[in-house]
C-alpha cells in the first residue's frame, strides 16, 4: 500500500523522535557504562581509576541486592494486583446508573493528579502516624492498639500509597473499555438468562482483556522505578524492607556518592528492566495485535 515515496516521508517524520530518544538513551548510557568501570567517588575527586568489574561485583554481592530485587517485584506486582482488581470492581460500579455520576467520577479521579511526594507526605504524616494519624485515632476509637504502619508493615503501606495513586488511572481505562461493550450484547446475554457472574466471566472480562494489558504495561513502566514514595516515607527501611532497586541505586549515588557503584547498579537495573520489558512485549504482542 505504502509507496517508496511515502515510506521515505515516514522515515523523515519519525527521524526527530527516534534520533532524540536515541541520544537521550545512548549518551547517559555510555557515560554510565564508562563510570561503572571506574573507582569514582564524588567526595574524593582525582582518585578515579579503572577497576574492571569490581563495582558490579560489589553491587551484585550486596546482601541488599536480592532483597531489593524481590521488593521491586513485590511492589510492582502488589500495586498491579490492587489496581487491576480494584479498577475492575470500581469500573463495574461506576458503569451502573447512579445519581451524580459526574461528581463521583471527579472524586475517584482526583488522586491521579496529586504529586507523588505530596501524597506520600500526606499519607505518612496525617494517616499512618501511630500517634497523630487518622488511622491511629480510628484504631483507638475501636479500642485497638494503633498499628505502626510504616514500621510493622512497611512494604504493604507503600504498596497501599502507590495503589491509591494509580487506582484512578486503571479505573478510567477499564471503565472506558466497559462502556464500549455493546448494550445489545449485554442484553442478549441477560435474555439468555445468564447470571451476573457468568456474564462477567464470558462476556465482560474477555472484552476488557486488552484494556487490562494496557493498564499493566503502562503502570509497570512507572512502578519499576517508584522512588519518591519510598524516600519520603521509610527511606528504604526499616532495615532494607522497602528498598527497591531504584532506591538501592539512589543510596549508592546520593548517600555514598559512589558514582562507580551507582552506575554499575544503574546498568544492572536497566538490564533487569529490559528483561521485564521483553516479557511485557511478548504479552502485549499477543494481546494488542489486530
Amino acid at each position: 500500500m505504502a509507496t517508496t515515496h511515502t515510506r521515505s516521508h515516514a522515515r523523515l517524520m519519525m527521524a526527530p523522535s527516534v534520533l532524540l530518544l536515541f541520544l537521550w538513551m545512548i549518551v547517559p548510557l555510555a557515560m554510565t557504562i564508562y563510570f561503572s568501570f571506574l573507582r569514582y567517588n564524588l567526595l574524593m575527586p582525582g582518585m578515579e581509576e579503572y577497576t574492571g568489574f569490581l563495582n558490579y561485583q560489589f553491587f551484585l554481592t550486596d546482601p541488599a541486592f536480592f532483597t531489593a530485587l524481590g521488593n521491586t517485584l513485590l511492589l510492582t506486582g502488589g500495586v498491579l494486583l490492587i489496581t487491576v482488581i480494584g479498577g475492575i470492581l470500581l469500573a463495574l460500579l461506576l458503569d451502573q446508573p447512579i445519581f451524580g455520576q459526574g461528581i463521583v467520577r471527579i472524586l475517584v479521579i482526583a488522586p491521579f493528579f496529586v504529586m507523588p511526594t505530596v501524597s506520600a507526605l500526606v499519607w505518612k504524616n496525617m494517616f499512618f502516624n501511630p500517634v497523630n494519624g487518622i488511622f491511629a485515632w480510628l484504631f483507638k476509637l475501636f479500642g485497638a492498639q494503633p498499628l505502626d504502619w510504616l514500621a510493622q508493615i512497611p512494604l504493604l503501606s507503600i504498596i497501599f500509597i502507590v495503589a491509591w495513586q494509580w487506582l484512578p488511572f486503571s479505573t478510567l481505562i477499564l471503565l472506558t473499555a466497559l462502556q464500549s461493550l455493546d448494550e445489545e450484547q449485554k442484553e442478549a446475554a441477560e435474555m439468555d438468562g445468564a447470571g451476573f457472574l457468568s456474564r462477567f466471566i464470558y462476556i465482560v472480562l474477555p472484552h476488557m482483556a486488552r484494556a487490562i494489558t494496557v493498564v499493566i504495561l503502562i503502570q509497570t513502566i512507572f512502578l519499576l522505578s517508584v522512588f519518591a514514595e519510598i524516600l519520603v516515607t521509610t527511606n528504604g527501611g526499616p532495615g532494607i524492607q522497602t528498598t527497591n532497586l531504584t532506591y538501592l541505586v539512589y543510596a549508592q549515588a546520593l548517600l555514598q556518592f559512589d558514582i562507580g557503584g551507582a552506575s554499575a547498579g544503574g546498568i544492572v537495573a536497566v538490564i533487569l528492566a529490559n528483561i521485564v520489558a521483553f516479557f511485557l512485549m511478548r504479552m502485549i504482542g499477543k494481546n494488542l495485535e489486530g
Partner: protein, 276 residues
Amino acid sequence: MARKVSTSRKLTFTALAWIVAFLIFFPILWTFLTSFKTEAEAVASPPSFLFFDWTTENYAEVQSRSDYFKHFFNSVVISLGSTLIGLLIAIPAAWAMAFSPTKRTKDVLMWMLSTKMMPPVGAMIPIYLIFRDTGFLDTRTGLVVVLMLINLPIIVWMLYTYFKEIPGEILEAARMDGASLSQELTQVLAPMAVPGIASTVLLNIILSWNEAFWTLNLTASKAAPLTAFIASYSSPEGLFYAKLSAASTMAIAPVLIMGWFSQKQLVRGLTFGAVK
C-alpha cells in the same frame, strides 16, 4: 436506554459509589481541611472535621517564606513547554507509524517505551555533568528538554493509538484528490485527531507537573518548580501538619482543578488503544 432500572437498585449503587468515592477522595479533602487549622488543631485528638476555627494563617506563612508564584510560574512553563515541544516532535512520528507502518513499527514503539525504564538516579550524574557544561543547570529550558524527552515515548504512543483509529480510506481519498502532505495534516487529520491530542496534552501536563526527581535535582532557585517548593515543608522543626497541608494544597490545586474541568477530554482519550 433500553434497560429499566429499579429505583431501589439505583439508590443502592448510588450509595455504594458515593461511599467508595468519598473514601478515595478523603486524603485530599483532609489535606485541604487541615490547611485551615492551627498547628495545634491539626494534631488534636479526636480530630475535628469541620468545627474548628478556620484560619488562613498557614497560607500567609507559606507565602511569606517561599514565593509561591515564582514556583507556580516555573511549573507552568516547564510542563506546558515540554508538552508542546514534545507534541511537535511526536505528531509526525506517530502519524508516520499509524499510516505507513512497517514491520518494525511495533519494535520501534516498544523500544521507545523501554527508554523509560532506566532508573533516573542511575543517569543522574551524567546528566548533571552535561547540564553543568552546557549551562543548563537551574534553567527552565533545561528542564523543558529533559521532561520532554522523558515523556516523549508516552506521547508518541498515545498519539499513535488515536491516529490508528482514523480510517485510512479518508486519507487515501484525500491523496487521490491531490492533497499535499500539509493539507493532509491540517485539513483531514487535524480535526479528527484533536480529541486525542487534547487528552495527550492533558496527561502530559499532569505527568510533567508531578515529576519530582529531575525537577528537584537539576534546579536550585531560578527554575525551581512546585516540587522544590514542597521540599522545604516536608519535615521542618516543630509541628508542621497545617503548613505542610497548605503548601500541598497550593502545589496540587492548579493541576487538580485543570484536571477536573477537562476530565471529559482526558477520560475520553485516556485509553492508550485499550478500546477497539
